[in-house]
Every structure is written in structure tokens, then in C-alpha cells.
């Protein structure tokens, strides 16, 4: 009985799946990479500078849409998307000396990001990025020691560089909180 029900339901799912494959075999994939703003704005298929809920074709990302469209207006603007991801990044926590701040390509012409941005490799100067540390299976104590070492390296590196170079490096680090704390680099403002 239960089995029959499962077959019935499963079949429905299968039929619909089969049909949609036929219909959508030419559908485009979302290009990977780029800033989260750019990635999310891929859903703006009409290039209107806004995204409606229906346009978010990846159901896993509808919650992101809903988190942005808190006023339930039915669509969200690129500015809202930018503001949302800036908040996301500022709210993210980093261990002291932790790897990989949010790097990326903010400040594109017309972009609102200023020096901030998203996406990219671990920041320059990281001794062991987190994924490497994980791969090595570092213990909690080792991680603490690593964090201390990172802090030392950061300090010594800062002493070597000129103010201008530090600024450049900070730019490469793309505004994330270098070492302990510091604001996320997605600075507000800048023309749309």
C-alpha cells in the first residue's frame, strides 16, 4: 500500500522531470565565478536591473531572494542585492589571523562597491589557508599557534612595507578584516 503510493508519487515526479528535460535542454547554465552580486544578478534575464522572485530559477537561492525582499515588493533592485551581500560579509566572522578575507572585484566602473568586493583566493600573506589547515588535520592547539604565528607575520610584514604598499596590499585583500576584526570592505556609497 505504502509502496503503491510511493510508486504513484514517484512516477508523477519522474514524468514531470522527463518533460522538463525535453523542454529545457537548451537552457543556459549560470556562469560561475564573479562577485556574488554579479552571480545573483544573472537571474535578471531581462536585464532590467532588478530580479523578481519567479526569475530566481535556482530554488536553493529563493531564500536569499526572500531575505532581500523583506517588504514583499515582488522584485529586488541591484542596489538591494549589493547591500544584502555587503551585510552578509560584514556579519561573517573570522578567527584571528584567519585565512581568506572576502576578496573580489568591487569598484568596477559604475559599481557601488568602492574598494570592497567578493570572491577570490585567500588573502596574500596567509601562512596556511583554512582548507590546508583542515587537510593537515591541525589540532585546536596547533590552530591557536598558527593564528599566533599569522599575527606575528602580519605585524612583521606591516613593518617592512611602506604606507603606500600597505594600502595596496589592503586593496588586494579587498577590504576584509585583516587578521582580528576590522570592518568588512564592502564600503557603501559610490555611484550606481
Amino acid at each position: 500500500m505504502v509502496r503503491m503510493k510511493a510508486i504513484g508519487q514517484g512516477l508523477k515526479g519522474r514524468i514531470s522531470t522527463t518533460i522538463f528535460i525535453c523542454v529545457t535542454s537548451a537552457a543556459l547554465a549560470v556562469p560561475q565565478g564573479g562577485s556574488p552580486v554579479d552571480r545573483f544578478m544573472q537571474f535578471d534575464v531581462k536585464h532590467e536591473g532588478k530580479v523578481t522572485r519567479v526569475e530566481v530559477t535556482d530554488p536553493r537561492l529563493v531564500p536569499v531572494y526572500d531575505a532581500i525582499d523583506t517588504a514583499k515588493k515582488g522584485s529586488i533592485t541591484k542596489a538591494q542585492v549589493i547591500a544584502y551581500f555587503a551585510t552578509q560579509i560584514q556579519n561573517s566572522h573570522r578567527g584571528p589571523g584567519g585565512p581568506g578575507d572576502f576578496g573580489g572585484l568591487g569598484g568596477r566602473p559604475g559599481g557601488p562597491a568602492g574598494p570592497g568586493g567578493f570572491g577570490g583566493p585567500p588573502r596574500p600573506g596567509t601562512i596556511l589557508p583554512g582548507f590546508v589547515a583542515d587537510r593537515l588535520g591541525l589540532t585546536a592547539v596547533q590552530k591557536q599557534n598558527l593564528a599566533a604565528l599569522q599575527k606575528e607575520v602580519d605585524a612583521k610584514l606591516a613593518a617592512i612595507l611602506t604606507a603606500d604598499q600597505k594600502k595596496q596590499l589592503d586593496g588586494m585583500r579587498r577590504g576584509g578584516p585583516g587578521g582580528p576584526g576590522g570592518p568588512g570592505g564592502f564600503s557603501p556609497g559610490g555611484p550606481e
Partner: protein, 246 residues
């Protein structure tokens, strides 16, 4: 044309049901699984297949970590709670994990092997580098590793435990690997949405893009019919394009 496809599907479905029963044995949870998870998953497939029709973002690849099993267990089925015919289940919050493996254009990836592995409720992996030093600590009733061949809808399912943090990893996580034959398509990890340890977890935080984080977070929600507090989590895995995957 639709009629032809449907008949083919019916035949395949019969085969798969038979096949999956073979994989899972005659365990009492099968009935539960069939009435709860399978039906709800099918319903989801039905309601969401249209939504999947266009653009999907690839699930980000994440580190395999040091503890992929160095020797596969005798039992590698999709029920990690019970090892072979044991009568003692694993310790932990039982979790039904299911989802589909899809291409970035939303097509199901069938006959892919989904493997999962995770530490037991006492934080021991099924890898001798971890399990031998911690032999007294480990939960001998947890299978630690399982695999499942995706159906023609790309579907897979496991019964496991809700993942717990591990020393050096503040976020509970389930390791996931997708293979086609011997070829590895993706290695990633599933995280628990809302878990406070995510914020300080180095692997989670290495994902610089909040969208990538979103794609590896799963909502572990109570199974309504369960009287023993079981959870379910849906984790759809989207494979990116690789040169050899034409």
C-alpha cells in the same frame, strides 16, 4: 512521444525499487523511509521540477579533509545507522538526507555514486588514523560511510546522524563525494543551517562568496510523523561543467 517515455520510466522505476530494496535490505526503517522521506521527496520533485528547469549554480567544491575512509567498511549501504544486521543503532539524531544530483542546466545525473562520510556522535571518523587512537571513544555502531547510486531522476537518499562538530572544526558537517564510475565529479561538504559553529569554522569561512555558503547549507527539519525526533535534510548537488563531462 510522452507515452513512450512514460512506459520506459515505469520499467526503470520498477527496476530501481527492486534495486534499492536490495541495497537497503529488509530493514524496518524502509517502511518509514518509504512513507515519509520518499513520498515527500517525490512530491518535492514534482513541485520543483519546473523551477529547476533553467539556471542552477554549481555546488562549490570543498576540501576532502584528512579522513576519507582508508579502508572501506564491509557495509557501505545508504543506512549509516545500522551496520549490517546489527540490532543496535548508532548514537545520534537520526537524519534522513536526500536530494538530487543535477547538471547546471537542471538535468538529472543518473547512475552517479553519491558517497557520504562523517564522524560519529563521539567525534571519531571511520579512518584508522582517527579510529585507532580513539578506539575507546568511537561509536562502533555507526557506519561512518555510505554510498548510493542515483536513480534516473538523479535522486539519492541516506539515513545517517545529524553531523556534529569535530576538534578543530566548529561546524558539524557531512562530507559528500560524487563519482561517475571511478571518476570524481565533486567533493564537498554539507553544513547545518543556523548552526552557531558555522561562523567560526575554517572550511565554511574559506568560502568567500555568500552564495556558495548558501549552496552547502541544509535545513535539518523535524520529520513530522517521527516520534523519536528524526530529522530530514534536502541537499541537491549541482555539478559544474568539466572538460571531460561533455
Amino acid at each position: 512521444m510522452k507515452g513512450t517515455v512514460t512506459m520506459l520510466d515505469l520499467e526503470r522505476l520498477k527496476f530501481e525499487l527492486h534495486h534499492s530494496e536490495g541495497l537497503m535490505g529488509r530493514r524496518s526503517f524502509l517502511t518509514q523511509l518509504a512513507s515519509g522521506v520518499v513520498v515527500s521527496t517525490s512530491a518535492l520533485l514534482f513541485s520543483e521540477s519546473g523551477a529547476f528547469a533553467e539556471q542552477l549554480m554549481s555546488t562549490p567544491a570543498l576540501t576532502e579533509g584528512p579522513y576519507y575512509p582508508d579502508t572501506l567498511p564491509l557495509d557501505t549501504d545508504n543506512d549509516l545507522i545500522i551496520i549490517r544486521n546489527s540490532t543496535t543503532p548508532a548514537v545520534g539524531v537520526i537524519t534522513h538526507m536526500s536530494g538530487r544530483v543535477l547538471s547546471s542546466s537542471g538535468e538529472p545525473v543518473r547512475n552517479a555514486t553519491v558517497e557520504i562520510w562523517q564522524c560519529d556522535a563521539h567525534q571519531v571518523y571511520l579512518n584508522t588514523r582517527d579510529s585507532i587512537p580513539k578506539v575507546a571513544q568511537r561509536d562502533k555502531n555507526f557506519q561512518g560511510f555510505g554510498r548510493f547510486l542515483t536513480s534516473s531522476t538523479g535522486g539519492y537518499r541516506f539515513r545517517t546522524i545529524k553531523p556534529v562538530p569535530y576538534p578543530g572544526r566548529t561546524a558539524g558537517h557531512i562530507h559528500v563525494k560524487v563519482k561517475r564510475g571511478d571518476r570524481e565529479m565533486l567533493t564537498t561538504q554539507l553544513f547545518v543551517r543556523g548552526h552557531p559553529g558555522n561562523a567560526t569554522d575554517n572550511v565554511f569561512n574559506d568560502m568567500s562568496d555568500p552564495l556558495d555558503r548558501e549552496l552547502v547549507l541544509g535545513s535539518f527539519v523535524p520529520v513530522k510523523a517521527s516520534k523519536i525526533g528524526e530529522l530530514s535534510v534536502k541537499f541537491d548537488i549541482v555539478l559544474g561543467r568539466t572538460p571531460s563531462d561533455r
